[in-house]
Protein backbone atom coordinates (compact mmCIF):
# COMPACT_ATOMS: atom_id res chain seq x y z
CA UNK A 1 0.00 0.00 0.00
CA UNK A 2 1.59 3.22 -1.13
CA UNK A 3 0.09 5.26 1.72
CA UNK A 4 2.27 3.37 4.21
CA UNK A 5 5.39 4.80 2.67
CA UNK A 6 7.05 7.32 4.95
CA UNK A 7 9.29 9.28 2.64
CA UNK A 8 6.74 11.14 0.59
CA UNK A 9 9.23 12.42 -1.96
CA UNK A 10 9.53 8.88 -3.32
CA UNK A 11 6.18 7.75 -4.70
CA UNK A 12 6.97 4.65 -6.74
CA UNK A 13 8.61 1.62 -5.16
CA UNK A 14 9.71 -1.86 -6.25
CA UNK A 15 7.22 -4.61 -5.38
CA UNK A 16 7.62 -6.49 -2.10
CA UNK A 17 8.43 -9.76 -3.85
CA UNK A 18 11.57 -8.15 -5.28
CA UNK A 19 12.58 -6.88 -1.83
CA UNK A 20 12.02 -10.34 -0.36
CA UNK A 21 13.97 -11.99 -3.19
CA UNK A 22 16.82 -9.54 -2.62
CA UNK A 23 16.87 -10.30 1.12
CA UNK A 24 16.79 -14.04 0.44
CA UNK A 25 19.77 -13.66 -1.89
CA UNK A 26 18.06 -15.36 -4.82
CA UNK A 27 17.53 -12.31 -7.02
CA UNK A 28 19.68 -12.05 -10.14
CA UNK A 29 22.44 -9.49 -9.67
CA UNK A 30 20.92 -6.84 -11.99
CA UNK A 31 17.69 -6.69 -9.95
CA UNK A 32 19.61 -6.67 -6.68
CA UNK A 33 21.66 -3.67 -7.80
CA UNK A 34 18.44 -1.73 -8.37
CA UNK A 35 16.83 -2.83 -5.09
CA UNK A 36 19.98 -1.92 -3.12
CA UNK A 37 20.35 1.43 -4.91
CA UNK A 38 16.70 2.30 -4.28
CA UNK A 39 16.98 1.18 -0.62
CA UNK A 40 19.88 3.57 -0.10
CA UNK A 41 17.47 6.44 -0.85
CA UNK A 42 14.20 4.96 0.47
CA UNK A 43 13.90 4.42 4.23
CA UNK A 44 10.69 2.48 3.88
CA UNK A 45 12.00 -0.06 1.38
CA UNK A 46 15.19 -0.39 3.44
CA UNK A 47 13.02 -1.22 6.46
CA UNK A 48 11.14 -3.78 4.37
CA UNK A 49 14.40 -5.41 3.30
CA UNK A 50 15.44 -5.53 6.99
CA UNK A 51 12.10 -7.18 7.84
CA UNK A 52 12.59 -9.77 5.10
CA UNK A 53 16.12 -10.42 6.35
CA UNK A 54 14.64 -10.94 9.81
CA UNK A 55 12.44 -13.65 8.27
CA UNK A 56 15.62 -15.24 6.90
CA UNK A 57 17.16 -14.97 10.37
CA UNK A 58 14.17 -16.65 11.98
CA UNK A 59 14.24 -19.45 9.37
CA UNK A 60 17.95 -20.06 10.00
CA UNK A 61 17.46 -19.90 13.78
CA UNK A 62 14.85 -22.62 13.34
CA UNK A 63 16.80 -24.80 10.93
CA UNK A 64 17.51 -28.39 11.94
CA UNK A 65 21.01 -28.26 13.38
CA UNK A 66 23.60 -30.37 11.53
CA UNK A 67 26.54 -31.38 13.70
CA UNK A 68 29.83 -29.63 13.06
CA UNK A 69 33.09 -31.59 12.84
CA UNK A 70 35.23 -32.19 15.91
CA UNK A 71 37.47 -29.24 16.58
CA UNK A 72 35.30 -26.92 14.43
CA UNK A 73 35.13 -24.22 17.10
CA UNK A 74 38.91 -24.11 17.56
CA UNK A 75 39.44 -24.20 13.80
CA UNK A 76 37.00 -21.33 13.31
CA UNK A 77 38.62 -19.20 16.00
CA UNK A 78 42.07 -19.81 14.52
CA UNK A 79 40.72 -18.79 11.13
CA UNK A 80 39.03 -15.71 12.60
CA UNK A 81 42.24 -14.55 14.24
CA UNK A 82 44.33 -14.84 11.08
CA UNK A 83 45.36 -11.40 9.90
CA UNK A 84 43.74 -10.54 6.58
CA UNK A 85 42.98 -7.52 4.48
CA UNK A 86 39.52 -6.08 4.84
CA UNK A 87 38.01 -6.57 1.42
CA UNK A 88 35.01 -4.36 2.09
CA UNK A 89 36.90 -1.08 1.81
CA UNK A 90 35.63 0.75 -1.23
CA UNK A 91 38.15 2.83 -3.10
CA UNK A 92 35.43 4.59 -5.06
CA UNK A 93 33.43 5.49 -1.96
CA UNK A 94 36.54 6.85 -0.32
CA UNK A 95 37.21 9.16 -3.21
CA UNK A 96 33.68 10.62 -3.07
CA UNK A 97 33.96 11.21 0.66
CA UNK A 98 37.35 12.82 0.34
CA UNK A 99 36.22 15.49 -2.07
CA UNK A 100 33.51 16.27 0.50
CA UNK A 101 30.53 16.49 -1.82
CA UNK A 102 27.50 14.28 -1.74
CA UNK A 103 27.62 11.84 -4.65
CA UNK A 104 24.65 11.62 -7.03
CA UNK A 105 24.83 7.82 -7.19
CA UNK A 106 24.45 6.00 -3.89
CA UNK A 107 26.36 2.82 -3.13
CA UNK A 108 26.41 0.14 -4.39
CA UNK A 109 25.76 1.84 -7.75
CA UNK A 110 29.09 3.72 -7.73
CA UNK A 111 30.88 0.38 -7.48
CA UNK A 112 29.08 -0.93 -10.54
CA UNK A 113 29.42 2.29 -12.56
CA UNK A 114 33.08 2.64 -11.60
CA UNK A 115 32.46 6.06 -10.09
CA UNK A 116 29.88 8.79 -9.72
CA UNK A 117 27.89 10.54 -12.45
CA UNK A 118 30.67 12.88 -13.52
CA UNK A 119 33.43 11.18 -15.44
CA UNK A 120 31.37 8.34 -16.92
CA UNK A 121 31.96 7.28 -20.49
CA UNK A 122 28.54 7.18 -22.16
CA UNK A 123 27.80 5.22 -25.31
CA UNK A 124 25.56 6.65 -27.98
CA UNK A 125 22.16 5.01 -28.24
CA UNK A 126 20.61 7.17 -30.98
CA UNK A 127 18.09 10.04 -30.85
CA UNK A 128 20.24 11.86 -28.33
CA UNK A 129 20.06 9.08 -25.75
CA UNK A 130 23.10 7.39 -24.19
CA UNK A 131 23.67 4.30 -22.10
CA UNK A 132 26.28 2.39 -20.09
CA UNK A 133 25.87 -1.35 -19.56
CA UNK A 134 26.58 -2.31 -15.92
CA UNK A 135 25.50 -5.93 -15.53
CA UNK A 136 24.91 -8.23 -18.46
CA UNK A 137 25.20 -11.89 -19.22
CA UNK A 138 23.77 -14.37 -21.67
CA UNK A 139 20.10 -14.76 -20.82
CA UNK A 140 20.55 -13.05 -17.44
CA UNK A 141 18.78 -9.81 -16.56
CA UNK A 142 20.76 -6.74 -17.53
CA UNK A 143 21.29 -3.45 -15.74
CA UNK A 144 22.40 -0.28 -17.45
CA UNK A 145 22.48 3.45 -16.97
CA UNK A 146 20.34 5.46 -19.38
CA UNK A 147 20.63 9.14 -20.18
CA UNK A 148 17.53 10.59 -21.80
CA UNK A 149 17.95 14.12 -23.19
CA UNK A 150 15.83 16.81 -21.51
CA UNK A 151 12.31 16.98 -22.93
CA UNK A 152 12.82 13.97 -25.19
CA UNK A 153 11.28 10.51 -25.18
CA UNK A 154 12.96 7.16 -24.86
CA UNK A 155 12.14 5.27 -28.09
CA UNK A 156 8.72 3.68 -27.65
CA UNK A 157 9.02 0.06 -26.65
CA UNK A 158 7.17 -2.91 -25.22
CA UNK A 159 8.59 -5.75 -23.18
CA UNK A 160 9.05 -9.45 -23.31
CA UNK A 161 9.53 -9.35 -19.58
CA UNK A 162 9.79 -7.02 -16.63
CA UNK A 163 11.57 -3.68 -16.82
CA UNK A 164 12.35 -1.53 -13.78
CA UNK A 165 13.58 2.01 -14.22
CA UNK A 166 14.89 4.04 -11.29
CA UNK A 167 15.46 7.77 -11.64
CA UNK A 168 18.88 8.96 -10.40
CA UNK A 169 18.75 12.54 -11.63
CA UNK A 170 16.07 14.70 -13.24
CA UNK A 171 12.66 13.17 -13.82
CA UNK A 172 10.42 11.67 -16.48
CA UNK A 173 6.72 11.25 -17.04
CA UNK A 174 5.05 8.16 -18.37
CA UNK A 175 1.34 7.44 -18.73
CA UNK A 176 0.47 10.67 -16.89
CA UNK A 177 2.65 9.84 -13.87
CA UNK A 178 5.77 11.66 -12.77
CA UNK A 179 8.89 9.79 -11.70
CA UNK A 180 11.49 11.77 -9.76
CA UNK A 181 14.78 10.90 -8.05
CA UNK A 182 14.50 7.57 -6.24
CA UNK A 183 11.24 6.58 -7.93
CA UNK A 184 11.06 3.17 -9.62
CA UNK A 185 8.78 2.54 -12.58
CA UNK A 186 7.71 -1.07 -13.01
CA UNK A 187 6.74 -1.96 -16.59
CA UNK A 188 5.35 -5.41 -17.21
CA UNK A 189 5.03 -7.61 -20.28
CA UNK A 190 2.06 -5.97 -21.95
CA UNK A 191 2.76 -2.36 -21.20
CA UNK A 192 3.66 -0.21 -24.16
CA UNK A 193 5.18 2.81 -22.57
CA UNK A 194 7.10 5.88 -23.51
CA UNK A 195 8.93 7.69 -20.74
CA UNK A 196 9.56 11.35 -21.61
CA UNK A 197 12.31 13.23 -19.77
CA UNK A 198 11.21 16.49 -18.15
CA UNK A 199 12.51 19.64 -19.80
CA UNK A 200 15.43 21.44 -18.17
CA UNK A 201 17.92 18.66 -17.52
CA UNK A 202 18.80 15.25 -18.87
CA UNK A 203 17.21 12.36 -17.01
CA UNK A 204 19.65 9.74 -15.73
CA UNK A 205 18.13 6.35 -14.89
CA UNK A 206 19.14 2.88 -13.82
CA UNK A 207 17.20 0.48 -16.05
CA UNK A 208 16.97 -3.26 -15.45
CA UNK A 209 15.32 -5.69 -17.84
CA UNK A 210 14.97 -9.43 -17.76
CA UNK A 211 14.37 -9.69 -21.51
CA UNK A 212 15.40 -7.71 -24.56
CA UNK A 213 13.21 -4.70 -25.27
CA UNK A 214 11.08 -4.63 -28.41
CA UNK A 215 11.40 -1.23 -29.97
CA UNK A 216 8.54 -0.05 -32.14
CA UNK A 217 10.24 2.10 -34.75
CA UNK A 218 11.74 0.49 -37.83
CA UNK A 219 15.02 2.28 -37.23
CA UNK A 220 15.12 1.23 -33.60
CA UNK A 221 14.46 -2.37 -34.62
CA UNK A 222 17.25 -2.21 -37.16
CA UNK A 223 19.86 -0.95 -34.73
CA UNK A 224 18.70 -3.02 -31.76
CA UNK A 225 20.91 -6.03 -32.52
CA UNK A 226 23.96 -3.77 -32.69
CA UNK A 227 23.55 -1.69 -29.58
CA UNK A 228 23.07 -4.64 -27.30
CA UNK A 229 20.00 -3.69 -25.27
Amino acid sequence: MKSEHIDMSIQHHPDDELLVGHAAGELPEAWSVLVATHSALCLDCRARVYAAEAVGGALVADACPVEMKDGALEGTLARALEPRADTTTRAVGTRAEMRDTKPIFPQPLRDYAGGDLDGLRWRRLGRGAYHIPLVSGRGAPTARLLRIPAGRPVPEHGHNGLELTMVLRGSFTDGGQRFGVGDVETADTDLEHQPVAAPGEDCICLAVTDAPLRFRGVFARLVQPFIGI
Binding site: G21, E26, V33, R48, V60, A61, A63, A72, L77, P108
Partner: protein, 213 residues
Protein backbone atom coordinates in the same frame (compact mmCIF):
# COMPACT_ATOMS: atom_id res chain seq x y z
CA UNK B 1 8.63 -32.19 -5.35
CA UNK B 2 7.35 -29.57 -2.96
CA UNK B 3 9.62 -28.01 -0.41
CA UNK B 4 7.31 -29.03 2.39
CA UNK B 5 7.63 -32.67 1.37
CA UNK B 6 11.36 -32.78 1.12
CA UNK B 7 11.63 -29.93 3.59
CA UNK B 8 13.73 -30.11 6.68
CA UNK B 9 14.56 -26.66 7.58
CA UNK B 10 11.73 -24.90 9.22
CA UNK B 11 10.31 -26.47 12.34
CA UNK B 12 7.45 -24.15 13.22
CA UNK B 13 4.38 -25.55 14.88
CA UNK B 14 1.50 -25.16 12.42
CA UNK B 15 1.01 -27.88 9.84
CA UNK B 16 0.91 -31.65 10.00
CA UNK B 17 4.18 -31.76 8.13
CA UNK B 18 5.81 -29.45 10.54
CA UNK B 19 4.52 -31.41 13.51
CA UNK B 20 6.23 -34.44 12.05
CA UNK B 21 9.41 -32.46 11.78
CA UNK B 22 9.13 -31.44 15.42
CA UNK B 23 9.11 -35.09 16.38
CA UNK B 24 12.10 -35.70 14.18
CA UNK B 25 14.38 -33.35 15.94
CA UNK B 26 12.66 -32.53 19.14
CA UNK B 27 12.93 -28.79 19.26
CA UNK B 28 9.76 -27.26 20.64
CA UNK B 29 9.21 -23.70 19.47
CA UNK B 30 8.63 -22.22 22.93
CA UNK B 31 12.18 -23.09 23.88
CA UNK B 32 13.23 -19.69 22.53
CA UNK B 33 11.74 -17.91 25.55
CA UNK B 34 14.30 -19.51 27.85
CA UNK B 35 17.16 -19.32 25.35
CA UNK B 36 20.18 -17.07 25.88
CA UNK B 37 20.12 -13.44 24.80
CA UNK B 38 21.91 -13.92 21.47
CA UNK B 39 21.95 -10.19 20.77
CA UNK B 40 23.83 -9.46 24.01
CA UNK B 41 26.19 -12.38 23.35
CA UNK B 42 26.98 -11.05 19.89
CA UNK B 43 27.81 -7.67 21.45
CA UNK B 44 30.14 -9.52 23.84
CA UNK B 45 31.82 -11.17 20.85
CA UNK B 46 32.57 -7.66 19.54
CA UNK B 47 34.62 -7.26 22.74
CA UNK B 48 36.57 -10.43 21.88
CA UNK B 49 34.74 -12.53 24.47
CA UNK B 50 35.61 -16.15 23.58
CA UNK B 51 33.06 -17.73 25.91
CA UNK B 52 30.30 -15.71 24.26
CA UNK B 53 31.62 -16.77 20.86
CA UNK B 54 31.65 -20.43 21.90
CA UNK B 55 28.00 -20.16 22.94
CA UNK B 56 27.02 -18.46 19.68
CA UNK B 57 29.02 -20.99 17.71
CA UNK B 58 27.38 -23.97 19.42
CA UNK B 59 23.95 -22.62 18.51
CA UNK B 60 24.40 -21.02 15.11
CA UNK B 61 27.18 -22.96 13.35
CA UNK B 62 25.11 -26.17 13.02
CA UNK B 63 22.16 -24.12 11.76
CA UNK B 64 24.24 -22.20 9.24
CA UNK B 65 25.63 -25.57 8.10
CA UNK B 66 22.07 -26.78 7.65
CA UNK B 67 21.28 -23.67 5.59
CA UNK B 68 24.30 -24.26 3.34
CA UNK B 69 23.44 -27.94 2.88
CA UNK B 70 19.90 -27.08 2.00
CA UNK B 71 21.13 -24.61 -0.60
CA UNK B 72 23.07 -27.32 -2.38
CA UNK B 73 26.51 -27.49 -0.74
CA UNK B 74 28.08 -30.87 -0.23
CA UNK B 75 28.82 -31.70 3.43
CA UNK B 76 32.46 -30.62 3.24
CA UNK B 77 31.65 -27.31 1.61
CA UNK B 78 28.78 -26.73 4.06
CA UNK B 79 31.14 -27.29 7.01
CA UNK B 80 33.69 -24.98 5.41
CA UNK B 81 31.12 -22.24 4.72
CA UNK B 82 29.64 -22.52 8.22
CA UNK B 83 33.11 -22.13 9.76
CA UNK B 84 33.90 -19.23 7.47
CA UNK B 85 30.54 -17.60 8.35
CA UNK B 86 31.21 -17.86 12.08
CA UNK B 87 34.78 -16.64 11.60
CA UNK B 88 33.28 -13.63 9.82
CA UNK B 89 30.90 -13.17 12.74
CA UNK B 90 33.92 -12.93 15.07
CA UNK B 91 35.78 -10.51 12.82
CA UNK B 92 32.87 -8.22 12.04
CA UNK B 93 30.94 -8.39 15.31
CA UNK B 94 31.88 -4.77 16.06
CA UNK B 95 29.67 -3.73 13.13
CA UNK B 96 26.61 -5.43 14.65
CA UNK B 97 24.06 -2.95 16.00
CA UNK B 98 21.43 -4.49 18.31
CA UNK B 99 19.19 -1.47 17.67
CA UNK B 100 18.97 -2.42 13.99
CA UNK B 101 18.60 -6.18 13.92
CA UNK B 102 18.39 -9.38 15.91
CA UNK B 103 21.58 -11.45 16.12
CA UNK B 104 19.92 -14.21 14.07
CA UNK B 105 19.11 -11.69 11.31
CA UNK B 106 22.64 -10.37 11.21
CA UNK B 107 24.16 -13.85 11.17
CA UNK B 108 21.75 -14.82 8.39
CA UNK B 109 22.96 -11.90 6.24
CA UNK B 110 26.61 -12.88 6.86
CA UNK B 111 25.84 -16.48 5.79
CA UNK B 112 23.78 -15.35 2.78
CA UNK B 113 26.52 -13.04 1.52
CA UNK B 114 29.13 -15.77 1.90
CA UNK B 115 27.18 -18.31 -0.07
CA UNK B 116 26.41 -15.82 -2.86
CA UNK B 117 30.14 -15.15 -3.01
CA UNK B 118 30.99 -18.87 -2.91
CA UNK B 119 28.34 -20.14 -5.37
CA UNK B 120 28.11 -17.24 -7.78
CA UNK B 121 31.45 -15.53 -7.38
CA UNK B 122 29.92 -12.15 -6.89
CA UNK B 123 28.95 -9.75 -4.13
CA UNK B 124 25.53 -9.11 -2.75
CA UNK B 125 24.81 -5.46 -3.64
CA UNK B 126 23.89 -3.55 -0.48
CA UNK B 127 23.66 0.08 0.58
CA UNK B 128 26.72 1.29 2.50
CA UNK B 129 25.71 2.75 5.89
CA UNK B 130 28.65 5.18 5.69
CA UNK B 131 27.83 6.39 2.17
CA UNK B 132 27.27 10.18 2.17
CA UNK B 133 24.61 9.67 -0.55
CA UNK B 134 22.56 7.35 1.70
CA UNK B 135 19.43 8.72 3.37
CA UNK B 136 20.30 7.71 6.95
CA UNK B 137 18.07 5.67 9.23
CA UNK B 138 16.30 7.62 11.96
CA UNK B 139 18.26 7.54 15.25
CA UNK B 140 17.94 4.23 17.07
CA UNK B 141 16.25 4.12 20.44
CA UNK B 142 16.59 1.82 23.44
CA UNK B 143 13.11 0.51 22.57
CA UNK B 144 14.45 -0.75 19.27
CA UNK B 145 17.11 -2.79 21.06
CA UNK B 146 14.41 -4.39 23.19
CA UNK B 147 12.13 -4.88 20.20
CA UNK B 148 14.73 -6.73 18.13
CA UNK B 149 15.30 -9.19 20.98
CA UNK B 150 11.81 -10.47 20.26
CA UNK B 151 12.21 -10.62 16.46
CA UNK B 152 12.88 -14.33 16.11
CA UNK B 153 10.05 -15.30 18.46
CA UNK B 154 7.57 -12.93 16.85
CA UNK B 155 8.48 -13.97 13.32
CA UNK B 156 8.19 -17.62 14.30
CA UNK B 157 4.66 -16.92 15.56
CA UNK B 158 3.86 -14.97 12.42
CA UNK B 159 5.17 -17.77 10.18
CA UNK B 160 3.02 -20.24 12.09
CA UNK B 161 -0.06 -18.18 11.27
CA UNK B 162 0.59 -18.23 7.52
CA UNK B 163 -1.08 -20.77 5.28
CA UNK B 164 1.11 -23.71 4.23
CA UNK B 165 1.14 -22.30 0.67
CA UNK B 166 2.43 -18.96 1.83
CA UNK B 167 5.08 -20.40 4.11
CA UNK B 168 6.25 -22.72 1.37
CA UNK B 169 7.04 -19.91 -1.09
CA UNK B 170 9.04 -18.05 1.56
CA UNK B 171 10.96 -21.18 2.40
CA UNK B 172 11.71 -21.89 -1.25
CA UNK B 173 13.02 -18.34 -1.65
CA UNK B 174 15.24 -18.33 1.42
CA UNK B 175 16.32 -21.95 1.65
CA UNK B 176 16.28 -23.37 -1.85
CA UNK B 177 17.79 -20.51 -3.78
CA UNK B 178 14.93 -20.62 -6.22
CA UNK B 179 13.99 -17.68 -8.35
CA UNK B 180 10.30 -16.91 -8.66
CA UNK B 181 10.25 -18.59 -12.07
CA UNK B 182 11.84 -21.74 -10.63
CA UNK B 183 9.37 -21.75 -7.74
CA UNK B 184 6.50 -21.59 -10.21
CA UNK B 185 7.95 -24.62 -12.02
CA UNK B 186 8.62 -26.52 -8.77
CA UNK B 187 5.08 -26.00 -7.52
CA UNK B 188 3.39 -26.10 -10.93
CA UNK B 189 1.64 -22.77 -10.37
CA UNK B 190 1.70 -19.59 -12.47
CA UNK B 191 4.46 -17.05 -11.88
CA UNK B 192 1.88 -14.42 -10.93
CA UNK B 193 0.59 -16.70 -8.17
CA UNK B 194 4.12 -17.14 -6.78
CA UNK B 195 4.59 -13.39 -6.68
CA UNK B 196 1.24 -12.71 -5.07
CA UNK B 197 1.80 -15.45 -2.45
CA UNK B 198 5.16 -13.95 -1.51
CA UNK B 199 3.61 -10.48 -1.32
CA UNK B 200 0.73 -11.74 0.83
CA UNK B 201 2.95 -13.81 3.11
CA UNK B 202 5.36 -10.94 3.64
CA UNK B 203 2.51 -8.45 4.13
CA UNK B 204 0.97 -10.68 6.81
CA UNK B 205 4.29 -11.06 8.61
CA UNK B 206 4.80 -7.30 8.58
CA UNK B 207 1.27 -6.73 9.89
CA UNK B 208 1.70 -9.30 12.65
CA UNK B 209 5.01 -7.72 13.64
CA UNK B 210 3.51 -4.24 13.71
CA UNK B 211 0.52 -5.40 15.75
CA UNK B 212 2.83 -6.58 18.49
CA UNK B 213 4.80 -3.37 18.68
Amino acid sequence: MSAARRGLSWSGPSSQLNRLKLLQHDKPSHQEDASPDWNALLCDVARQDRAAFAALFAHFAPRVKSYMLRLGSDPMQAEELAQEALATVWRKADRYDPARAAASTWIFTVARNLRIDAFRRRNHPEPDPNDPALIPDPPASADMVVSHKQDATRIRKALAELSDDQREVLQLSFFDDQTHTQISQTLGIPLGTVKSRIRLAFGRIRNLLEDEE
